[in-house]
Symmetry: C3
Subunit: 151 residues, 3 copies
């Protein structure tokens, strides 16, 4: 059965692929948000980015609250999303119950969107909830992959 | 033979999957360590995280030695572990000698654990050794994938 | 047909694998560049790295312009390269036109090399062009994977 492996004919793989792209595009939204805050606030990290605005040799700012906020959000994405992309693929190959697996993908994607929006809006405990739900989902998949694997 | 591809019936893939999850869970351990240091030391990066402890508008600290240490360790994980997850999967598909491949996975995983523990304990040269061994292992796999591939 | 899946007998997969390794090795070049700047400039982030050079308890520097430049470059790699590695693999499985797919891989790899070199040389707008071209390439692949997938 081709439908048990890494093929878009396997509905579970097709679901994983869709959520994997969604969450990657969400991460790129944060890349765009960083660029937006840098340009709209005129805050750049490199002298060559500001040569028309600052005197030569001026120290670029690394302490703008909004820019640093979106950079911390981006770093949190990097700590969680690549792990999901890799572990999710392996998890599909463990042959999980499709319903259970689908909810792993949905909860992770929703959790990261919640994390992103509540980080930008500076609201707790929603940000912490989104972060923890995403981490637990990937941990659950990693444990199942570990049990299916062989050291 | 299904056992040559990405299936848990392929013993080499099953080994890759197990080490990939282990090293991901190790990375999440560092995520937990960051949270532990932030909460136990009361050091937060965002004003909304500390609203009960600091006055409104207080500047959150970004210079606590223990918290910054675990953040640097985490960043080093991000520079190495996602690369291993991706390249390791491609390496399995090059059909390497199983014994040689297994040692790549084991050395990488052990090296990253050594790196983590020696970063937290602030001991050199063990941290450098763990870092370099992990980097060389992934480089070796990447070169073998490059040679099996076609530009 | 085995040649449509994740196998080095599939020419498109073989191309993806080669570009994926190349771009990973390029990222490791930046890891080496960080080490080079740290050692040649004597700028370390951890007290245990400098115990022979600094007095005990000395604060390690986190503000050296060249070292911080290469660290920002590295972080930009982390924001883009793992996403390419994951999405590129899924994109191969969507069965794209081989010619179009090959150009995605080539443009991404060339764009990231341009980004790296122009970041180190501090020249704009080449750095921005490399960054944007790489981001658009991965976004294009992610959108195609999303359309082939099923939420």
């Amino acid at each position: 059965m081709a439908s048990a492996g890494l093929s878009f004919e396997n509905p579970l793989f097709a679901a994983y692929a869709a959520y994997a792209s969604l969450v990657t595009l969400k991460m790129f939204f944060v890349t765009g948000a960083t660029a937006y805050f840098r340009y709209s606030r005129g805050v750049f990290a490199n002298p060559e980015d500001v040569k028309r605005r600052l005197k030569k040799g001026a120290v670029p700012r690394l302490d703008h609250p909004e820019v640093e906020r979106v950079r911390r959000l981006h770093l949190n994405d990097l700590e969680n999303i690549p792990a999901f992309l890799a572990v999710g693929l392996l998890y599909v190959l463990t042959g999980p119950s499709p319903g259970v697996a689908l909810w792993h993908f949905r909860v992770f994607t929703a959790a990261r969107c919640l994390h992103t929006l509540s980080y930008l809006a500076a609201v707790q405990p929603w940000r912490a909830l989104g972060f923890i739900a995403g981490l637990l989902t990937t941990t659950s998949m990693a444990v199942q992959v570990l049990m299916a694997g062989a050291l």
